[in-house]
C-alpha cells in the first residue's frame, strides 16, 4: 500500500516538504529577501513602486500611543480592514463594515467598542499575531469589495487566488474559498476549500476540502469546477511581475479581485504550501524542472507567462 503510494507520487511528480525546502526554497529564495514578503507593509510599498495594484493603505500604527489617535483617521472611511504587518494564516484581521454610535460594526454583525479596537491594535503591536512573537505594526487598509463573480462561490470572507511563480514563470494555481468552518479565512488547513485552476486556461478543475476531493461548495452547494476565471491572462501577468518585485525564485502570489479596482496583490509567500498539488491533481515537479531548464532563455514577461502554456 505505502510503497505503491510512494511510487504513484513519484510518477506524478508530487513535491514533498523536504524536496521543496532543499531543492527550491533554500536554493532559489535568498534569506535576505524574506523580509520583503514577511512584512506586508514593505510588500505593499514595493508593489506601489512597481505599479502593481494593491489595497490602498489608510494608516499604519507602529507606536502604542498612535492607537488612541486612530479613530480620527478611521472616521473618514466607512469600511476598512485592520491587520498585522507580519501576520500569518489570516490571524488578527478585523474587517470593519461600518460605524455605529457605540463604536464599529464588524463583518460578523457584532459591535466593537472604540476601546476594544484600540486593544486589538495594541495586541498586534505586542506581537501576538506575528511570526515568532516579535513586535509588529498594524495596518489599516481598504476593504476589498467582493466581485460579483465570486459572490456565489463563497460563504463569508474573501476568496483569493494563489499562483505559484517559479523563476518568473507561473506554474500552478488554485482558488481558495472560505467556508463556514474556516470562519471566513482562506487558509486550507483551517477549512477553506482549494480549487485547482488550469494554469493555461484559467478554468477550475477539482476542489479539495481538507483531504477530500469535492465538486461543490459544502455551504452553498454551488458547482465549483469548470468555471472560467475572468481576465485570467491579467492575473498571470500580475503574478509573474512579482518575481521582479522581490527576487524570490519560488514564491506564492495571493491575488484578490475587487469589484471596482480589479485584480490586486494581497500578499506574497516565500514558503507556499503544497496542498495546491492536491487541488490540481498534479505534481509540481515536472513543471519546476522544465522551468529550471529553460528560465535563462526567457527574457520578457510575455515569454514567461506563455511559457508554461506551451509545455502543458
Amino acid at each position: 500500500m505505502i510503497p505503491k503510494l510512494i511510487k504513484q507520487l513519484h510518477k506524478l511528480g508530487i513535491v514533498g516538504i523536504n524536496r521543496r525546502n532543499i531543492d527550491y526554497i533554500s536554493k532559489y529564495n535568498k534569506r535576505c529577501l524574506y523580509p520583503l514578503v514577511d512584512d506586508k507593509l514593505l510588500t505593499k510599498k514595493l508593489a506601489i513602486q512597481a505599479g502593481i495594484n494593491v489595497p490602498e493603505l489608510y494608516a499604519v500604527v507602529t507606536v502604542n500611543h498612535q492607537a488612541r489617535d486612530i479613530h480620527a483617521i478611521l472616521k473618514k472611511y466607512s469600511t476598512f480592514v485592520v491587520k498585522p504587518a507580519h501576520g500569518s494564516g489570516g490571524n488578527g484581521i478585523i474587517v470593519v463594515a461600518g460605524h455605529s454610535k457605540k463604536g464599529y460594526r464588524t463583518l460578523g454583525r457584532t459591535i466593537m467598542s472604540e476601546e476594544s479596537l484600540e486593544n486589538h491594535i495594541l495586541e498586534i503591536l505586542s506581537g501576538v499575531f506575528s511570526i515568532g512573537g516579535h513586535a509588529d505594526s498594524a495596518l489599516v487598509e481598504y476593504t476589498v469589495q467582493l466581485d460579483p463573480f465570486f459572490r456565489d462561490l463563497t460563504y463569508q470572507g474573501l476568496p483569493d487566488i494563489r499562483i505559484i511563480v517559479f523563476l518568473g514563470v507561473p506554474v500552478m494555481s488554485m482558488m481558495r474559498l472560505p467556508t463556514h468552518l474556516s470562519n471566513g479565512k482562506a487558509n486550507l488547513h483551517q477549512g477553506a476549500i482549494g480549487v485547482g485552476i488550469d494554469i493555461a486556461t484559467g478554468i477550475t478543475t477539482t476542489g479539495v476540502w481538507f483531504n477530500d476531493i469535492i465538486t461543490e461548495h459544502p455551504d452553498t452547494g454551488i458547482e465549483i469546477t469548470g468555471i472560467k476565471i475572468p481576465n485570467w491572462e491579467n492575473l498571470l501577468y500580475l503574478a509573474a511581475r512579482c518575481y521582479q518585485l522581490t527576487g524570490l525564485g519560488y514564491q506564492g502570489v495571493d491575488i484578490v479581485i475587487d469589484k471596482h479596482k480589479g485584480p490586486m496583490l494581497l500578499e506574497l509567500n516565500a514558503r507556499p504550501g503544497l496542498n495546491i498539488q492536491i487541488a490540481n491533481c498534479a505534481g509540481l515537479l515536472p513543471r519546476l524542472k522544465i522551468v529550471e531548464q529553460h528560465y535563462k532563455e526567457l527574457n520578457t514577461l510575455k515569454e514567461r507567462v506563455s511559457f508554461i502554456q506551451k509545455y502543458l
Binding site: 503510494l5 532543499i22 521582479q244
Partner: protein, 526 residues
C-alpha cells in the same frame, strides 16, 4: 526601506548548485575520522563497548611466616596452576636473600625457597593476580596419572570392600558411583563401614581423602584438589577440598559436601594431592595465611591505564582528563546530540508535528529528573493547569511579555503546591518536579494556547501529543545505559552523529505523515 537587491536582467541571475562531491567528501571524512578513532580506542586500548563490562581482578597473597633456627631452611609452596575459573595474570615472590626455584611435576607447580642460614622470624610472600573468566575449555586431560592402590589394613579393608560392594550394586556409571559414595560418606547417622574407615575424624577433608582412596581401590582414578573460594574480600581464606575423578577421558570435579559435580564458579583450584600447601624444613611455628582482595577496576579504568602507557597524548585530550564534576556535565551534554538526531528523524522523515524545534529534546531532558511515566503525567497536568491560567489571563488583555511572565510565576506557584502536596502524601516524584524546567513548560503552554486559538483544538492537541511522543522516543534513546556509556567513552561518535544529521538534511523523500495528506493521489489513474 529595503532596496530590492535584484539585477535588471532577471534571467542572468545565477543560483549556484550544491557541490555534491564536496558534501559527500566531508561526510565521508567525518565517518572515517570517527571510525578510525573508535577502532583505535577499541582495539588498542580496549575501551569497552557495552557498559558495566567489569574485569574482575583479584589479588591473592600467601603470607608464610616461621621461626628459623640458624640452620638451612627450605620452604616448598604449591602454586596454583590450571584452574577452570581463573587465569593468573601476574605472579611474584617477595623474599629477602632466599634463593627461589619453581618446578612443575605432571600434576602440580611448586616454588622452593632456600637459604643456607637464617634465624629469627622469617616472612615469605607470594602474590598473584587472577582474572575471573567465564568459560574456558579445559586444557588438562592429564593422560597419565601416577596412582597407587592404597593398602587398607584390617578391619578397614573389610569395611572398604563392603562399602564398595554396596555402592557398586546401586550405581550405573562412574558419575553415579561417586555420587553414591559421597551420599554414604555424608549419611547421618553414619554408615557402619564409613564410621570404621573415618575413625571419628569426620571432617570434609578427611572424607575427600578417603573417597579418593576408595575410588582407587575400585579402580577409578581420582585425586584430591585443594583450593580456595575467590568471592569476597577476606584476610583468612580457608583451603577447601574437592575431588577430581577421571572418567570418559576427562577430569570431573566433585564437591565432597553435596556429592555433585557442580563446583562453584568462584573456586580456584590450587594444588592436587593430600600434601599441605607449605612444607617447611629447618624452621618451626609455621603460619600460613591466604588473603584475597578484590581489585574491582572496571574495564574503562583498565583501558585508561593501557592508554596512559601506549599513547599519553591522546588521553590528555579526552574527557577522562577533566575533573569529575566536569565529566558529569558531559555525561548529560553529550546525550543531547543523540536526542537531536532522533528528533531530526522524527520530524523530517516521520513528520511528527511538535511545538518548537527542539522542544521535545528539552522535555525529554526534564523527564530525566522525573522519569518517563510520572514525567508525562506531571507534564500533562501542569500544561492543562497552565492553559486554564492562560485562558484566565486572556481576559485582561495583557501585553505578551508580561503575560508570559505572569504565566511563568503561576507555573512556579503550581509546582510549589505540587511539591508540598506530594511531600505530605509521601509520594517521591513530587520532589523531583521542582527541577522540571519551568521555562520550557511556560513556552509550551504559550505555544499550545496560540496553536489552540489559531489552528483549533485538534491541531493543538495533536502537536501536544506529538511533542510528548517525540519526547518519549527521544528520552528512550538518550537515557539508556548503552547510549550514555558509548557516547561518553567514545565521544568521537559525535562526528558520526553529525554526519548522519547532515545526510538527513539532504533527504528529499516524502515524510511518512505526508503520505496521508497525499493519499488521494492513489485514486488517480494516469
Amino acid at each position: 526601506m529595503y532596496p530590492p537587491p535584484i539585477p535588471k536582467n532577471q534571467s542572468a541571475r545565477v543560483f549556484p548548485a550544491m557541490n555534491r562531491t564536496h558534501f559527500y567528501f566531508f561526510i565521508f571524512s567525518l565517518f572515517l575520522i570517527s571510525c578510525g578513532l573508535f577502532a583505535y580506542k577499541y582495539f588498542v586500548f580496549g575501551f569497552p563497548i557495552a557498559p558495566e563490562e567489569k574485569s574482575n581482578v583479584w589479588n591473592i597473597e600467601v603470607h608464610i611466616s616461621f621461626d628459623a633456627q640458624n640452620e638451612p631452611v627450605k620452604v616448598v609452596l604449591f602454586l596454583p596452576g590450571y584452574s577452570r575459573n581463573f587465569i593468573i595474570s601476574s605472579e611474584n615472590f617477595v623474599s629477602r636473600s632466599y634463593g627461589i626455584t619453581t618446578s612443575t611435576d605432571n600434576i602440580n607447580r611448586s616454588a622452593t625457597w632456600a637459604i643456607h642460614e637464617a634465624n629469627k622470624r622469617q616472612v615469605l610472600l607470594y602474590r598473584i593476580q587472577v582474572n575471573k573468566v567465564k568459560v574456558r575449555n579445559p586444557p588438562d586431560s592429564t593422560p597419565f596419572f601416577e596412582w597407587e592402590v592404597p593398602e587398607f589394613l584390617e578391619p578397614n579393608r573389610s569395611a572398604a570392600n563392603a562399602l564398595l560392594a554396596e555402592i557398586l550394586r546401586k550405581s550405573a556409571d562412574t558419575d553415579s558411583f561417586v555420587m553414591k559414595l559421597f551420599k554414604l560418606l555424608n549419611a547421618q547417622p553414619p554408615d557402619e563401614n564409613v564410621a570404621i574407615l573415618l575413625d571419628k575424624e569426620a571432617s570434609v577433608d578427611k572424607k575427600a581423602e578417603l573417597a579418593v582412596q576408595l575410588l582407587a581401590l575400585a579402580g577409578i582414578p581420582a585425586r584430591v584438589v585443594n583450593g580456595i573460594k575467590v568471592a569476597t574480600r577476606t584476610n583468612d581464606a580457608k583451603i577447601e577440598r574437592c575431588i577430581e575423578v577421571y572418567s570418559g577421558g576427562k577430569w570431573t570435579s566433585y564437591d565432597p559436601v553435596s556429592g555433585t559435580s557442580l563446583i562453584s564458579g568462584n573456586y580456584l583450584a590450587w594444588w592436587r594431592g593430600t600434601k599441605p600447601l607449605v612444607q617447611l624444613t629447618g624452621g618451626k611455628n609455621l603460619k600460613t595465611n591466604i588473603s584475597v582482595g578484590l581489585q574491582e577496576e572496571d574495564a574503562i579504568n583498565a583501558a585508561i591505564k593501557r592508554a596512559e602507557t601506549i599513547n599519553p597524548h591522546l588521553l590528555n585530550f579526552s574527557l577522562f582528563s577533566l575533573p569529575l564534576h566536569f565529566q558529569a556535565v558531559y555525561h548529560l551534554l553529550l546525550l543531547i546530540p543523540i536526542g537531536v538526531l532522533f528528533l531530526v528523524i522524527l520530524r523530517n522523515i516521520i513528520g511528527i508535528e511538535t511545538f518548537g524545534t527542539f522542544m521535545p529534546v528539552l522535555i525529554a531532558l526534564s523527564f530525566r529528573e522525573t522519569h518517563l511515566i510520572s514525567g508525562i503525567i506531571l507534564f500533562s497536568i501542569l500544561v492543562a493547569l497552565g492553559m486554564v491560567a492562560r485562558l484566565y489571563l486572556e481576559n485582561f488583555r495583557l501585553l505578551m511579555v508580561s503575560r508570559l511572565a505572569s504565566l511563568l510565576i503561576i507555573i512556579i506557584i503550581f509546582i510549589g503546591i505540587f511539591d508540598i502536596l506530594f511531600y505530605k502524601l509521601n509520594i517521591e516524584i513530587g520532589l523531583s518536579i521542582s527541577i522540571f524546567p519551568i521555562v520550557i513548560l511556560t513556552m509550551t503552554i504559550e505555544r499550545m494556547t496560540i496553536t489552540w486559538e489559531e489552528r483549533g483544538s485538534r491541531t493543538a492537541l495533536q502537536q501536544c501529543v506529538g511533542s510528548l511522543i517525540a519526547a518519549s522516543i527521544v528520552y528512550f534513546f538518550m537515557f539508556n545505559k548503552y547510549s550514555r556509556h558509548l557516547i561518553f567513552v567514545y565521544p568521537e561518535l559525535l562526528l558520526q552523529i553529525l554526519a548522519i544529521t547532515m545526510l538527513l538534511g539532504r533527504y528529499k523523500g516524502y515524510r511518512f505523515v505526508e503520505l496521508f495528506r497525499f493519499k488521494e493521489f492513489n485514486k488517480i489513474k494516469q
